[in-house]
């Protein structure tokens, strides 16, 4: 029994930042890299199933990223995942969620997991597309924003709850194998122990290229491209503070400014 957990190393922004010269992204110097918050929960869910079932469950984590992404992968291995896979090629630098899903689909063919758990979305781009696209490519059932899961390894189906609009929850059963996009709060993610961190350095990480997975140049062409990224001009909103008289005076000033008086 195997659970594949794709994870992502996300980039969070400093409060002050500068754009790259090509204007299509923020300069890398202003990013803080970390494991995607949602992935802490998807990994934990896999580990809980593994611990409940004993040694018969293997948790394999996969990441698409360069050498820097090793940090995120080792973080997950330190929590208790059994082994890791990192896929990279410089041609993947502009990869979108669809390209990542194609790579993950090839990994599913290779690893033959019984379940795939992704985070519901990534905290940097928030597309929530990768899990859905992966299920589509595989032709597997998919459930998004899973907030509770009852699943026994080897069972033909799982029962889960999903968060819907307006505070509604949906209970559904899903045929396995399936791709589940795990929501924040489904469990309480653990911290990696120092022992686990040391052990993680010794755990097996397979480094693969898209070529190793049988993917060619055409497969790696993103379905979408960022044309421009920028900070929109600020609006004209102003918080008017002070006494009623001061506020009235400021309002009068603004009206005069707008009317050109």
């Amino acid at each position: 029994m195997k659970i594949l957990v794709p994870v992502k190393q996300i980039a969070s922004l400093d409060d002050q930042f500068e754009m790259r010269d090509d204007g299509r992204d923020v300069d890398d110097d202003y990013f803080e890299k970390d494991l995607n918050e949602f992935d802490h929960f998807s990994v934990e869910q896999a580990l809980l199933i593994k611990e409940a079932a004993g040694d018969g469950v293997e948790v394999v984590v996969a990441i698409v990223g360069d050498d820097d992404a090793d940090d995120a992968l080792r973080t997950v291995l330190a929590k208790g995942a059994d082994r890791g896979i990192r896929v990279w090629d410089d041609a993947l630098a502009g990869a979108d969620g669809i390209v990542v899903a194609k790579i993950l689909a090839k990994l599913v063919e290779r690893e033959k997991p019984d379940m795939v758990f992704t985070g519901a979305q990534s905290t940097d781009f928030g597309s929530a597309a990768t899990g859905m696209a992966l299920a589509g490519i595989l032709g597997w059932p998919h459930a998004a924003v899973v907030s509770h899961l009852d699943y026994t390894p080897g069972a033909p189906s799982a029962t889960l709850r999903r968060e819907l609009e307006g505070g509604l929850e949906e209970v559904m059963s899903i045929r396995c194998p399936a791709v589940l996009s795990i929501q924040l709060g489904i469990n309480q993610p653990r911290y990696a122990s120092l022992r686990g961190i040391k052990q993680a350095k010794q755990k097996q990480v397979d480094e693969l290229s898209p070529d190793d997975l049988g993917l060619g140049e055409d497969d790696l062409r993103p379905a979408s491209n960022v044309r421009r990224m920028y900070v929109p001009e600020r609006g004209k909103a102003e918080l008017i503070t002070g006494t009623a008289a001061e506020q009235a005076a400021r309002l009068a000033e603004i009206i005069k400014e707008i009317r050109g008086m």
Binding site: E18, D28, Y30, G242
Partner: protein
């Protein structure tokens, strides 16, 4: 790891530590060592700290970065770096002066004007800035000198005038001018100002505006007669401010006729209270009044015993925390039905063994956390607390100077990063464990471990001629 740990003792200890951190190339460990390092060590650490633009940005924004390092960064700071330095509360005055010369936009100028380390010269220059938000920041900076405040008091902006009226350095002349031109908000600030002229204090005392009298009642330069009048004011807010005034004497406070529970709560928090006032407050119908008075160190044994039977567990907890509570009362409260009350006893270093013993089998996190902090808790219990499944309970060991080393070492290997960060300062954490923490995955742990090891290394005397290491800290 252990070799590095023993290397810090003796003449070459600090050099060995610096060499290890430089070899590791970690920004945070280097920052931890830098503040206490000599010129040679600093020169060795700087390439690690300034290894990349990203690391410079992190350092510029770090409130824990040494001032001399921030000063160096200010020397050739670009726009993004300069803004981080201007926002960083640790940036020294010398660096702020450099940044002032390259102050491109109002955002940067506002950060400099609001900075705690901005000196009179910086504030004087920025007080003439065309952007109103910059001048507002200058007026709100407690370091703004009297001359600058005097100029800003003539500004057209109402918020600047109000900030000027509240400025600690505003002199009587400025306050008098502001009183003439200002609105109610400005006058209220003047009434509260210690430099407020006597005639304006008298005018505020006569004012029909309760907001003005409230601010006046907080003025520490008020005389006894004025305070007495304000303590009898018909407005609750005025009386409350007068009770909070640090110069008010307890003789002037009349609890017997005070109708406001809010004000009686404030009175119950005061230290110098007469026995009759304490007795009256101990029987107050408001539970918050009783809660505060139950902590009063002059509460007699009889009232302590009575409040220990109050229905409100918060009041019983206050009795448990009261240093005047006798041992037999603590033993009784240790068996209270409310864990929050038991935890109050568990925090007491002077709790009798019988009281502590009654708590050892508790499974409540508040009780366990309190026992974990208490140096009187038996070592076996502290070891068990260090191995608790609750991270918050385990962390209590970090605050216990009498925790056994086994418990301290357990916390140094805790999976929760905050617990490791907290234990770094524990006196029983040895060099070996500290050196291990230089490789911790959490940056704040690496920083704290390096800083502590650096201080330890600097504190060791040179080795003796027979090669024996010096004494420990």
């Amino acid at each position: 790891m252990m070799a590095a740990a023993t290397d810090i003792r003796g003449a070459g200890g600090q050099d060995a530590l610096v060499a290890r951190v430089v070899a590791g190339g970690d920004l945070y460990a280097a920052l931890g060592l830098y503040a206490g390092a000599g010129p040679g060590a600093r020169a060795a650490l700087e390439p690690v700290i300034f290894a990349s633009p990203r690391q410079k940005l992190i350092t510029a924004a770090a409130a824990f970065a040494p001032a001399s390092l921030l000063d160096r960064l200010a020397a050739d700071a670009g726009e993004a770096l300069a803004l981080r330095l201007a926002k960083n509360p640790a940036t020294p005055t010398s660096a702020l002066r450099r940044l002032l010369g390259r102050c491109g936009d109002a955002r940067m100028a506002r950060c400099l004007a609001a900075h705690d380390h901005a000196d009179a010269a910086i504030l004087d220059e920025l007080a003439s800035h065309p952007a109103v938000e910059v001048r507002r920041a200058v007026a709100g900076n407690p370091a703004a000198p009297a001359g600058v405040i005097g100029r800003l008091a003539a500004d057209d902006d109402g918020l600047i005038r109000r900030a000027a009226a509240a400025a600690p350095e505003a002199d009587a002349g400025t306050l008098a001018r502001l009183w003439q031109t200002g609105d109610d908000g400005v006058r209220a600030e003047i009434a509260a100002h210690p430099n407020c002229p006597a005639d304006l204090l008298a005018a505020a005392l006569r004012s029909t505006d309760a907001r003005l009298r409230r601010r006046l009642a907080s003025n520490p330069s008020l005389g006894a007669a004025e305070l007495e009048q304000l303590l009898a004011d018909p407005d609750d807010g005025v009386r409350a401010a007068a009770v909070r005034n640090p110069t008010v004497s307890d003789a002037g406070i009349d609890t017997g006729r005070e109708p406001s529970a809010r004000i009686r709560r404030l009175i119950a928090r005061r230290h110098q209270l007469g026995a009759d006032v304490i007795a009256r407050l101990a029987a107050d119908p408001d539970p918050w009044v009783r809660r505060w008075i139950a902590r009063h160190p002059d509460l007699p044994a009889g009232l302590l015993a009575r409040l220990a039977q109050d229905d409100d567990p918060g009041i019983r907890r206050s009795v448990a925390r009261n240093p005047a509570s006798p041992p037999d009362l603590l033993v009784r409260l240790a068996q209270d039905t409310a864990p929050w009350v038991q935890a109050g006893v568990a925090l007491r270093e002077d709790a009798p063994p019988e009281a502590v013993g009654a708590l050892l089998s508790s499974r409540d996190r508040d009780v366990l956390g309190a026992l974990g902090r208490n140096p009187a808790t038996p070592a076996t219990t502290l070891k068990a607390i260090a191995a608790s499944g609750d991270a918050d309970v385990r962390r209590s060991i970090a605050f216990n100077r009498a925790a056994p080393q086994a418990a301290v070492l357990l916390l140094a290997a805790d999976p929760y990063p905050l617990n490791r960060a907290m234990i770094v300062g524990h006196p029983l954490l040895d060099d070996g464990a500290l050196a291990d923490l230089l490789d911790d995955p959490d940056p704040q742990v690496r920083f704290a471990a390096a800083r502590r090891l650096g201080r330890r290394a600097a504190s060791f005397p040179p080795r003796n001629s027979d090669g024996k290491p010096g004494d420990d800290e």
